[in-house]
């Protein structure tokens, strides 16, 4: 940092402290952009349909040509093109993780607002649920619910959102409680603004940065929850596909065909890694409450 921070009474909440992205952060952001583009353009990018089988070309290593098509990343036990399957797996994994993150963030934040605004019994009940959630690993909770209710895609997306809703609730509640005491909220309320206006026009925009940072930091955990469940064979079911499912299927062919498991695994790893690095950068830049070293 080249500038010297002078102590000031009215420090703006979202003053950028490190504006420049390091090369690593740029690389991470670039990779995430590629992943998002792949997810959006899967139909155009995949060389073959992801379910197209070619039993004559089973378990072929990367860079094999079979039946007039180049299998850049090889084929699986049914002769399906790994690259094509990965493109669609990225789409479904990212889609599920984004939906899970959104549901978790919206529900968690709403509960945090409810706890902070209503206080009393509601506050106690919500914080008790937060404590209970923190006591059970999200993966175990999701597994239990899948056992009780059986697997279907709607339930699965809801379960993926379970990872982290309690963190949004805690964060939103804390921020709203402290923000409510501030002069501008008192002034707005004194001028006669109703609760919806205070919440949507004033409170939410002022804590949005912290919530977005939280969502970014939470996203890798959500992807890992989806891929772990699918890896265990309890998440996305065939003929659907997901990076975790591909890895789980490839596990059985490690001895003869390492590529079935390794490429999807690498895609998950690089995505969570990029997201963590990007999230750290975002937090340093926008979240005034975070520590920086």
């Amino acid at each position: 940092m080249t500038t010297v921070d002078l102590p000031s009474v009215t420090a703006p909440a979202a003053r950028p402290r490190t504006c420049a992205m390091s090369p690593v952060v740029k690389l991470s952001a670039g990779f995430l952009l590629v992943i998002v583009l792949v997810a959006l353009l899967a139909d155009w990018l995949a060389p073959l349909p992801y379910t197209a089988q070619n039993l004559a070309a089973r378990l072929k290593p990367p860079l094999t040509e079979a039946g007039g098509t180049m299998h850049w990343l090889g084929t699986d036990q049914l002769g399906r093109d790994i690259l094509s399957r990965m493109v669609f797996a990225i789409r479904s994994s990212i889609l599920i993780a984004v939906m899970g993150t959104l549901i978790g963030a919206v529900v968690g934040t709403a509960l945090g607002f409810a706890a902070a605004r209503l206080r009393g019994v509601v506050d106690q009940a919500i914080m008790m649920a937060v404590d209970a959630q923190a006591a059970i690993p999200a993966l175990f909770l999701a597994l239990t619910m899948l056992a009780f209710f059986g697997n279907n895609i709607v339930l699965f997306i809801i379960l993926v959102s379970v990872d982290g809703w309690d963190r949004y609730t805690r964060l939103a509640r804390g921020l709203v409680v402290s923000e409510q005491e501030s002069d501008y909220i008192n002034a707005v309320e004194a001028l006669g603004a109703g609760a919806p206006r205070v919440i949507l026009r004033h409170l939410l925009p002022n804590i949005a940065a912290a919530l977005v940072v939280q969502a970014t930091l939470n996203f890798p955990g959500t992807i890992l929850l989806e891929t772990s469940l699918s890896f265990l064979g309890l998440g996305v079911q065939p003929p659907g596909t997901s990076l975790g499912l591909m890895l789980g299927e490839g596990r059985r062919y490690l001895l003869n065909a390492w590529w079935i498991a390794v490429f999807p695994g690498l895609a998950i790893f690089l995505t969570t890694l990029s997201m963590s690095l990007f999230g750290d950068w975002l937090r340093d830049r926008f979240d005034p409450t975070s520590e920086r070293h």
Binding site: T144, F231, L247
Partner: protein
């Protein structure tokens, strides 16, 4: 002190009660327990006996009390798989998970702590950046991917370690490394932050000013003061270890609680699922309680009626 302990204990019991209640509610929401707990081929008279045994013909409130009473006794019904009490399957698997989890934790401490402290001492220099790069790689790698890479390298290519089973201590090596390395990464990052924080404190600067060697400062002054946040951190990590064990135990066919849960979810052996989830909740709540108690014991500032500070997020 006593007041705090009893309040904390009450809170822990309430959390366990909340989880058991949630399991009861979820099970009732899922449908008639007699239908989902018993297999389709169950004869009608056995089914009727089951309904009577669990009080399924009585009001919901009575069913709930009956459920609580059996949960306290550790009775969640019989397992489909081998017709023995579900709780027995859990108690048989638990020692294996404890063995795997504690060896992973020890490995993580042995790697992560020195790495983090070293990074803090060399703050913003090459060693710091290298250590943190390694740590980020460590904690961002999904355990299932790490496990598969280790199997490929050590079991299939080099053929020096077994990839599945639990016959000998050699079988423990790969699961321990798989579960321990991501933990070591998180621990290194945490240890670095905690050490940097302590190093900035006036008493450390004073000790350094008196000419005490940097390493001695770390060992004599910084580490004891970093013990409390470290303890809190381990309390939180127990959840990660348990969650990781579900995946790691499945990959390496290690007969622990995590694998038991995954297997019984696949076969919808709901008695075992309930027994596992309640046991895991009790372990987690108990671990956090223990962390709070040790916290009071080692931090003299908390020796009164004061409440424990909030955990780091």
């Amino acid at each position: 002190m006593l007041r705090f302990l009893s309040l904390r204990l009450l809170r822990a019991l309430l959390t366990v009660l909340a989880c058991v209640t949630a399991v009861f509610v979820a099970l009732r929401l899922a449908g008639d327990p007699a239908d989902i707990m018993l297999s389709i081929e169950t004869p009608p008279d056995v089914r009727a006996h089951y309904r009577e045994l669990w009080g399924l013909d009585r009001p919901l409130a009575e069913q709930y009390l009956l459920y609580l009473a059996s949960a306290v006794r550790g009775d969640f019904g019989l397992s489909f798989a081998d017709d023995r009490p579900a709780f027995a399957a859990v108690t048989e698997a638990l020692p294996n998970t404890v063995l795997l989890g504690s060896s992973a934790l020890l490995l993580a401490l042995a790697i992560g702590l020195p790495l983090g402290v070293l990074a803090a001492l060399r703050h913003n220099r090459a060693a710091d950046r290298l250590a943190m790069a390694v740590a980020v790689l460590g904690y961002a790698i999904p355990v299932f991917f790490l496990g598969i890479l280790l199997i490929l390298l050590f079991a299939l290519k080099l053929r020096i370690l077994p990839s599945a089973g639990s016959d000998s201590l050699r079988h423990l090596i790969l699961p321990t490394v798989t579960l321990g390395l991501p933990l070591a990464g998180r621990l290194a990052r945490f240890a670095r932050t905690a050490t940097l924080e302590v190093l900035g404190k006036p008493y450390i600067r004073a000790a350094r000013g008196r000419g005490v060697m940097p390493l001695a400062v770390i060992v004599r002054h910084a580490l004891p003061n970093a013990a409390v946040p470290l303890l809190m951190f381990i309390g939180i990590e127990i959840g990660h270890i348990l969650a990781g064990s579900a995946v790691v135990e499945t990959i390496f066919a290690w007969p622990g609680v995590g694998r038991l849960l995954v297997d019984s979810v696949s076969t919808r052996d709901l008695a075992v699922v309930q027994a596992v989830i309640v046991t895991v909740t009790i372990i987690m709540v108990g671990a956090n309680l223990l962390v709070d108690i040790v916290h009071i014991l080692i931090d003299p500032r908390l020796g009164g009626f004061s409440r424990a500070a909030g955990r780091p997020a």
